[in-house]
Subunit: 194 residues, 2 copies
């Protein structure tokens, strides 16, 4: 048993620390991130944090994974068009949230600068993987050709949204989401992901 | 006149310094970039560098602009399909070159880390702008609908290529380029950029 945390408080403490970690990343960035600041913001002692996460990188990886994994629900509306629009809108909303800004800034680091362990990158791959079932469901409904490559389709959906944020640094909106969904749907119907 | 550089050597010195700057960025990154190292690599005295560029950031901005501006020729093959494939293949080749890796690493910095001035970002906007004439030429040939938004189309072409490099960190190849060109062409023909 953890003597510093009353029974039943463990998950709450974990959630509070992860949320505080995301806020710290969002406001201060990776280089200035400290366990002390996270503990202060979460209202726990820093030894409580170190009891669960051996070092700052372990805490950051866990916080990023948690943010990417939990903040983008995968739709199942019965229509591929609506699924793609909903997923793209959720991605835009996440990118515009403090969590999204923090995660993107930390996970695309400069060469030579302080940067997080590469293991954080798998969270984005996981997110793409989680969305894949949208595609076979649409194939089963006869909306797109059998043999459509789900990963290619989901990447095509999200690419223009991430691109605008990372390269020209343009704002992304529901209009961006709808345009991305239309392109991915049209390409899939044309059999381009076959 | 610049007393340190013999007549006619100016453009050569400039090119040598900019190339050395890109190599330094590629090998050491933004944070460790120094004018001294660039001068040494280019075979000139550092005062020769400071005579042309007031500080390291001015040199970096100039080197990045030069790299982005000169290393991606804009095709005019007479066919939109071929223009898009050629442009996408050139982008892939640039991304896989030392210059491309250096520029991308520096221009997508981490929050809170040492990062270059935001003015460098306009080089990517310029690159998109340079490619725009591909689209009205295709409209004039009747290949895609009048009113196709050139910027939307070019961004859709390049987005999946940049996305793979920056987010899942997958390799990009001529296959990536061909797939991106097919999606952009199909979407344009369907009037999605109208």
């Amino acid at each position: 048993m953890n003597p510093a945390v009353p029974p039943g408080r463990g998950p709450k403490v974990r959630a509070a620390v992860l949320a505080a970690a995301i806020h710290e990343l969002s406001e201060r960035g990776y280089a200035a991130f400290t366990v002390e600041n996270v503990a202060h913001r979460a209202g726990v002692h820093k030894t409580t944090v170190y009891r669960r996460w051996p070092d700052r990188d372990a805490l950051i990886v866990d916080a990023l994974d948690d943010s990417v994994a939990t903040e983008l629900p995968i739709p199942d509306t019965g229509s591929l068009d609506e699924d793609l629009r909903t997923l793209a809108r959720s991605l835009v909303a996440w990118i515009n949230s403090p969590s999204g800004r923090a995660v993107l800034a930390v996970m695309v680091p400069a060469a030579g600068s302080a940067s997080p362990p590469d293991t954080t990158r798998h969270a984005f791959r996981d997110r793409i993987r989680q969305a894949l079932p949208i595609v076979p469901r649409a194939i089963a409904r006869g909306e797109i050709p059998a043999g459509t490559d789900a990963a290619e389709m989901i990447k095509t959906l999200v690419a223009p949204i991430y691109f605008r944020v990372l390269i020209p640094r343009e704002p992304v909106t529901d209009t961006t989401a709808a345009a991305a969904a239309a392109v991915a749907l049209t390409a899939a119907r044309a059999g381009l992901f076959g």
